[in-house]
Amino acid sequence: MSDEEDDIILSELNDEELVQQMFDDLYDGLKEEIEEGVNILLERKWEPYRILTEALVGGMTIVGADFRDGILFVPEVLLAANAMKGGMAILKPLLAETGAPRMGKMVIGTVKGDIHDIGKNLVSMMMEGAGFEVVDLGINNAVEAYMDAIKEEEPDILGMSALLTTTMPYMKVVIDTMVEMGIRDDYVVLVGGAPLNEEFGKAIGADAYCRDAAVAVETAKEFMSRKHNQLSA
């Protein structure tokens, strides 16, 4: 990657070449290059929303697909997501100013007793990469933490993650509490984590089990479009 012949001057590329190059740089997890690319596009008067969707979301879609297909693994995806975050940090305030359309909002967290947040972080970053607003509650969340967060943040989606046999049943505790409070149907509940499977997701009353971060994004988009259809119907 550091070969001289590979030295690319981003500002010398035309828009189309630059976006292609940003796809490549996201894939390689090159944060500084992504930040530079975002700034160049802003200088060229691209709308922040267009940079987000065409350059960043476009690039992360490729990363997501290769992760889903077993070509990339967690370390590469984390680096890609980290690069994307660099670009997002520049765009976020601008997006808020320009009132860009939103995909949806998600509150996500790893359940009580579980420290593992690799999968949850991936989902969080891939969701942001897909244009969702994400509120990340971190690890070790008791049911109260989830309830407080959804009350305050009013998300469309609640995501829960667990990596241990000893913590996965806790997802049911959270969902049962939502049912008791009569708010279960106000949210789309997505669950994930290594020991889970589709049947488990159904049995505990989640809307869907997501095998990996790429599937989580696809599933979230699907539920959001259903919701929009319902609203317009």
Binding site: Q20, I71, V74, T165, M168, E199, A203
Partner: protein, 337 residues
């Protein structure tokens, strides 16, 4: 280096390890989200019962209740400073149960992952990881463990850090990784990669292998992958008893004792020397496994087809090794001039 496990491996064709820890503790009343390691202190009888369950069912070796006994995991429960203490207690209880048996029982000190990410994309440094593992390892050895046993690891960096920690205290050890993503670990390690990783360590483990992951079939495919590399180090096979299901408020694994008996025999035929279960494997499974290993003669290396026929199909077509690694290569990036 002489230790109880190496000696047992010299005289036995196979050793039966234990089954699940979490699944068993749930059945004794552990609440989801609570750290099982506290029970070493407040419910020692239940931990003794857990160990005894494996020993009475015929296990030659069991793992201590210390999977989460590292500073990083215990921090969640405001007990980050108690890793040594909980590990030592876990091993002491183990030693007591093992010594009370009239058979030779090996106490393996379980060392679980830190749960943090190492390497380029991570936050945990090699030095901190070694320090954490060493603390747990010391507690286990001081409590009387025969051998250390790091398990459910997905990152090569973390495996190396654990090995270094064990070298620092000069303790014999075993290590298993979890291959749960289309035959690879979450971090992309294949069975062939792990053999290479193990061979390159300055302090070789007594045995290495795979635990947990997806189901018993996938696990045996991984064992085949180890054997294909021509490794001389004894191989460990600890597969889950099927797939977790949620039944009446509890997690239930759908693998029957009969299925696990078939799995145990297939694991031995594939080349594993230390055979046990992981999540969902209860004493009745272990009994069936022991009986099958004793009664059925050793057979030939099973084909993937035979494994699928006997205990079920695989979660993915390829496991990322050999000619079957049909997955397209990483795209070449930063290529334009």
């Amino acid at each position: 280096m002489s230790n109880a496990l190496s000696r047992a491996l010299e005289t036995r064709d196979w050793l039966l390890a234990d089954g699940a820890t979490g699944t068993n503790l749930f059945n004794m009343g552990l609440q989801s989200g609570d750290a099982p390691e506290f029970w070493n202190e407040i419910e020692p009888d239940k931990i003794r019962a857990l160990y005894r369950g494996a020993v009475d069912a015929g296990s030659d070796l069991f793992l201590t209740n210390s999977f989460g006994a590292n500073a990083s995991r215990l921090k969640l429960h405001d007990a980050g400073h108690r890793a040594y203490e909980f590990s030592k207690l876990a091993a002491e209880l183990g030693r007591e149960v093992a010594d009370a048996s009239d058979r030779d029982i090996i106490v393996a000190g379980s060392v679980g992952p830190t749960g943090e990410i190492m390497g380029a994309a991570g936050t945990l440094s090699h030095e901190s990881a070694v320090e954490m593992f060493e603390e747990t390892a010391k507690g286990l050895m001081d409590g009387g463990a025969d051998v250390l046993w790091v398990e459910t690891i997905s990152a090569p960096e973390e495996f190396r850090a654990a090995a270094e920690a064990f070298a620092n205290i000069n303790a014999p050890w075993c290590g298993t990784m979890s291959f749960d993503t289309a035959g690879r670990t979450m971090m992309g390690v294949t069975s062939a990669d792990m053999v290479k990783l193990v061979d390159e360590l300055p302090n070789a483990p007594v045995a290495f292998g795979a635990n947990c992951g997806v189901g018993a079939s996938d696990l045996l495919r991984t064992i085949k992958g180890f054997v294909a590399q021509g490794t001389e180090t004894p191989i460990i096979s600890k597969g889950n008893a099927g797939i977790p299901k949620y039944v009446d408020g509890h997690i239930h694994y759908d693998g029957t004792p009969e299925l696990m008996a078939d799995y145990a025999v297939l694991a031995r035929d594939t080349g594993a020397k230390i055979i046990g279960g992981c999540c969902g494997t209860m004493p009745n499974h272990l009994k069936a496994m022991r009986a099958a290993l004793e009664e059925r003669p050793k057979g030939e290396m099973p084909s993937l087809e035979l494994i699928a026929e006997k205990i079920g199909g695989f979660s993915s077509e390829s496991d990322g090794t050999g000619d079957s690694a049909a997955a397209p290569a990483r795209r070449s990036r930063r290529r334009r001039s």
